[in-house]
Symmetry: C2
DNA sequence: ATATGTGAACGGCTTCACAGCC
DNA sequence: GGCTGTGAAGCCGTTCACATAT
């Protein structure tokens, strides 16, 4: 099945299924129905089955899915079989928090370096990740063949830093700046816009 | 036009239009076409016009939109005419960063209090927002009629804290925990799942 | 001439209904 | 009987084409 026929949202959900399976494994459950797994993931059972169908047939009719097996399959599907190095540009408030955040490591990502215009600014001493000057970023990306980057610089310089990332060879950017980035088509950008999310919520409360 | 006929994503885009208008105002541009505004927002002109049409007619044919006027209208539409108080539960890495983050204030939100199981844990001294014990949260929400909350506690206690928020009367939650929250239908939840976004990106790079 | 506003067509994702298998 | 796998139907949001206004 070609990748671009798979709904983008389905990929997000597969990640969620994967997490739920992990929890089931910890609890030594070894079989799960689409109904139960879907409930845990907050979706409808048919949707779960449809999502899995994009990648193959993994269940046993009348029984359900083997937790360990399905979990392995999804890890494969998501391409998370090996650690993925990530860099981060902009080590301010948010950037520092992201460096300390354990959630990435847990999911198989490692932030290998940070970059900032003020690399020596005072920071939490238990940040072990090295922080270099932004000048060094392009060379670092090239040398270590890094494909993924987190962008947490102020909006005003986001596009410039993104350009450097692309120059170095970054293929995917997680963008925390409240800006619309212009990048070549082959580069993927996911945006996380905190103020936007709050604004959106405020619209719905009355 | 009834609120629930408007696509949820359209609301996000309206916030983005609003931001672009702000920038235009700063540059003393006073008229803008759907084409120009759409480009700045990263969408197609027809989509912009369709989005605005959900709320009324604001343009002049043959000319475009009056920047100041449209901006006012959108502020009204988004319900961001007055400051909105927000509380935050979980003042760890991420929570502290969010407290220091200026982007919320800029968009008309004020984090009025933080809550944590360890309210006296050592934190950046230039955080001015008071941090109380989580026990006090429900009473605080009630007393100050707070409607919006940010949830940045560990996944394992997210549901419990969310329940308290709902008990107090919170109507909208911005959830940073990698969990599917179960809340009454009338309560809105927007999730920001950092590891999920990275996983999603890693799927698309090859 | 130029740009908005909008019904209709389109496309993609979700849900349904049921066939297939244990 | 129970549960998965899947073509078909339904739904929702986006895009198109053009009528309308200045």
């Amino acid at each position: 099945m070609a990748k671009d026929e798979i709904p983008r949202r389905a990929i997000y959900r597969v990640s969620i299924y994967q997490r739920c399976l992990q929890r089931l494994k910890e609890n030594e459950v070894d079989t799960v129905s689409s109904q139960a797994l879907a409930k845990a993931a907050g979706v409808k059972p048919t949707q779960l089955r449809k999502d899995l169908a994009y990648f193959g047939q993994f269940g046993t009719r009348g029984l359900g899915y083997d937790v360990a097996n399905l979990s392995e399959v999804l890890t494969e599907v998501l391409g998370r079989t090996r650690f993925q190095p990530v860099i981060i540009a902009g080590i301010g408030n948010l950037g520092s928090a992201l460096l300390r955040y354990g959630g990435f490591q847990r999911e198989g990502f490692e932030i290998v370096a940070g970059f900032d215009v003020e690399p020596n600014r005072v920071r939490d001493p238990d940040i072990k990740t090295p922080v270099y000057h932004e000048d060094k970023m392009v060379a670092f990306i090239r040398k270590h063949q890094v494909k993924m980057a987190i962008l947490s610089v102020p909006a005003s310089c986001a596009q410039g830093v993104a350009n450097d990332m692309v120059t170095g060879g970054i293929q995917a950017i997680l963008n925390f700046s409240p800006t619309v980035l212009e990048v070549p088509e082959k580069v993927i950008v996911n945006g996380v816009d905190l103020a936007l999310e709050l604004e959106n919520l405020s619209y719905f409360i009355r």
